[in-house]
């Protein structure tokens, strides 16, 4: 029987790896994701998980090890945080281009300006254009669920793409929350065994990663683009099956108290948890406010975002990553939100809030501030700025 326990996001991800029967894992320490590997190492040592556990000599090596393992036909897992994620940058494109669907668990950590170990989404967001499926979890439960969902989607032969399954460092990775650990039979029903259509096999030798000619490059880019175009359909099938088997329903985006909402926070990851409380308090004061939570950054759910957000009058995008010098002068998400809404006949007023950077908590009063800005936008009938640095604006 499925059982409920209190556990951190890292421990929940380790439970997901066990349920997925991961065959090869490669570790290299960096906090906060390291706790995942500590849990996995324990499971392997205790004989709970039959997995080859390899110590990489760095993140580039970690990714290279699981690349080889997954190419040889093993379900593989690695992970990292912050500068570890960016240290392995070179490996992301060839893994996606080679169509090897391994999984990487990321517990976010701010990149160094010098050292900061708080959570911030910039690490994984920096990799978003390499052809990996990418999305965030709000709770340890969602971290576990996303891991299973991503394996299923990435390994589907209509997709065959690697996946970054992200959770906010500390807020999700280290703060325990209630987690329902499903039965192995449920996981087995949901996730078929790993089967690569083109594994490395001495009996049927193939070449992986050959040098290609310039005229073949575009074709390969198109293949990867097509896989991303095909992914949403596969994701929706997987989410429907997940709901049926595990009883927890997810979308590509999820909505909270939006039925009569005039304005919404658009947000991903751990801070959505605080946003829910802020919304309840704001509603008690009579504000018609809700939340749209993003669950996949890649593939970006253009259609869903456009349909959901065009119902509202104002949208405040909570950015937990940086895009220095970008069109919106703040983070990354507002770029994509505005682009998604561009063709809609009915467009809400939009702006963005830099918040939760460097590992800062986004407290309730900051959400109230954001709601104030949106209320003013509605009164004025226009968005005066594309970005507000929450807590640091002059008024």
């Amino acid at each position: 029987m499925a059982k409920e326990m209190m556990m951190s996001g890292c421990a929940a991800s380790a439970q997901a790896a066990k349920l997925a029967k991961v065959e090869v894992a490669c570790s290299y320490p960096i906090r906060p994701y390291t706790a995942l590997m500590m849990e996995l190492a324990k499971m392997v040592a205790n004989g709970e998980l039959d997995c080859e556990f390899i110590h990489g000599e760095g993140e580039h090596a970690q990714l290279s090890v699981v690349f080889g393992a997954a190419a040889a036909g093993a379900r593989a897992l690695t992970g990292s945080s912050g500068v570890g994620v960016t240290y392995a940058m070179e490996t992301y494109s060839p893994i996606a281009g080679g169509r090897v669907p391994l999984q990487m668990m990321i517990a976010d950590r701010a990149l160094d300006p010098p050292g900061d170990f708080g959570s911030e989404h910039t690490d994984a967001m920096s990799t978003r254009d390499q052809g990996w499926i990418l999305g965030w979890a709000e709770t340890p439960q969602e971290a576990l669920d996303n891991s299973l969902i991503n394996y299923r989607v990435g390994e589907d032969h209509r997709v065959l793409l690697p996946q970054m399954v992200c959770q906010d460092g500390y807020f999700v990775s280290h703060i325990p929350g209630p987690v329902v650990i499903p039965d192995q039979a449920q996981a087995d029903e949901f996730l078929p065994p790993y089967k690569l259509p083109h594994p490395l096999d001495p009996h049927h030798p193939v070449s992986h990663g050959p040098q290609i000619r310039p005229d073949q490059g575009t074709i390969m880019d198109m293949q990867r683009a097509q896989a991303m175009l095909d992914a949403p359909k596969v994701i929706k099938e997987a989410l429907a099956d997940f709901g049926r088997i595990f009883g927890r329903k997810y979308g590509m985006i999820d909505q909270f108290m939006t039925d009569d909402a005039e304005m919404v926070f658009f947000i991903q990851g751990a801070h959505a948890f605080t946003a829910r409380h802020a919304i309840k308090h704001l509603r008690a004061k009579g504000l018609k406010i809700g939340m749209v939570k993003l669950r996949f950054v890649r593939p970006w759910p253009t259609q869903e975002v456009a349909e959901a957000l065009s119902k509202f009058k104002a949208v405040g995008v909570v950015e937990t990553s940086t895009s220095y010098g970008g069109a919106m002068r703040g983070g990354n998400l507002l770029h994509e939100v505005r682009a998604s809404l561009y063709e809609c006949p009915q467009r809400p007023l939009t702006t963005s809030f830099m918040a939760g950077l460097g590992g800062e908590v986004i407290p309730l009063h900051e959400f109230y501030y954001m709601a104030d800005v949106m209320s003013k936008m509605l009164k004025l009938g226009k968005s005066e700025k594309t970005v507000y640095w929450t807590g640091f604006e002059s008024e």
């Binding site: 090897v100 992986h208 040098q211 073949q216 293949q223 683009a225």
Partner: protein
């Protein structure tokens, strides 16, 4: 779906059947500036060239007991010349040969 002309099709992930011996789709001999030249009189069959060549362009001809060079794939890195223990291998500028390296019209 994209329209990809048949002659331009690339296998999924560019994963191709392994050539097992030689890969005719990727000739690298034309990258060479210098080629190694062997003096079989001096060669002591230490096999260093065969062991060290990163592209397996030296193979032992067992009938004749001499290393044989593969001009089609040797990129001219000259590791073999560096590793040669008997002085049998020297480098020679590629364009000094009548059959010097064939430059392709396209770089690849």
């Amino acid at each position: 779906m994209f329209n990809i002309p048949k002659e331009k099709a690339v296998p999924l992930g560019c994963i191709t059947p392994a050539p097992v011996t030689e890969q005719p789709m990727m000739i690298t001999g034309n990258w060479r500036e210098y080629r190694p030249v062997i003096d079989n009189e001096k060669c002591n069959l230490c096999m260093s060239c065969i062991v060290y060549c990163p592209d397996a362009c030296w193979q032992l001809n067992e009938a004749e007991d001499e290393p044989v060079w593969n001009a089609k794939y040797c990129k001219g890195c000259l590791i073999c010349v560096n590793e040669c223990t008997s002085g049998a291998l020297t480098k020679a500028y590629e364009l000094d040969f009548e059959d010097g390296v064939v430059r392709l019209e396209k770089p690849f």
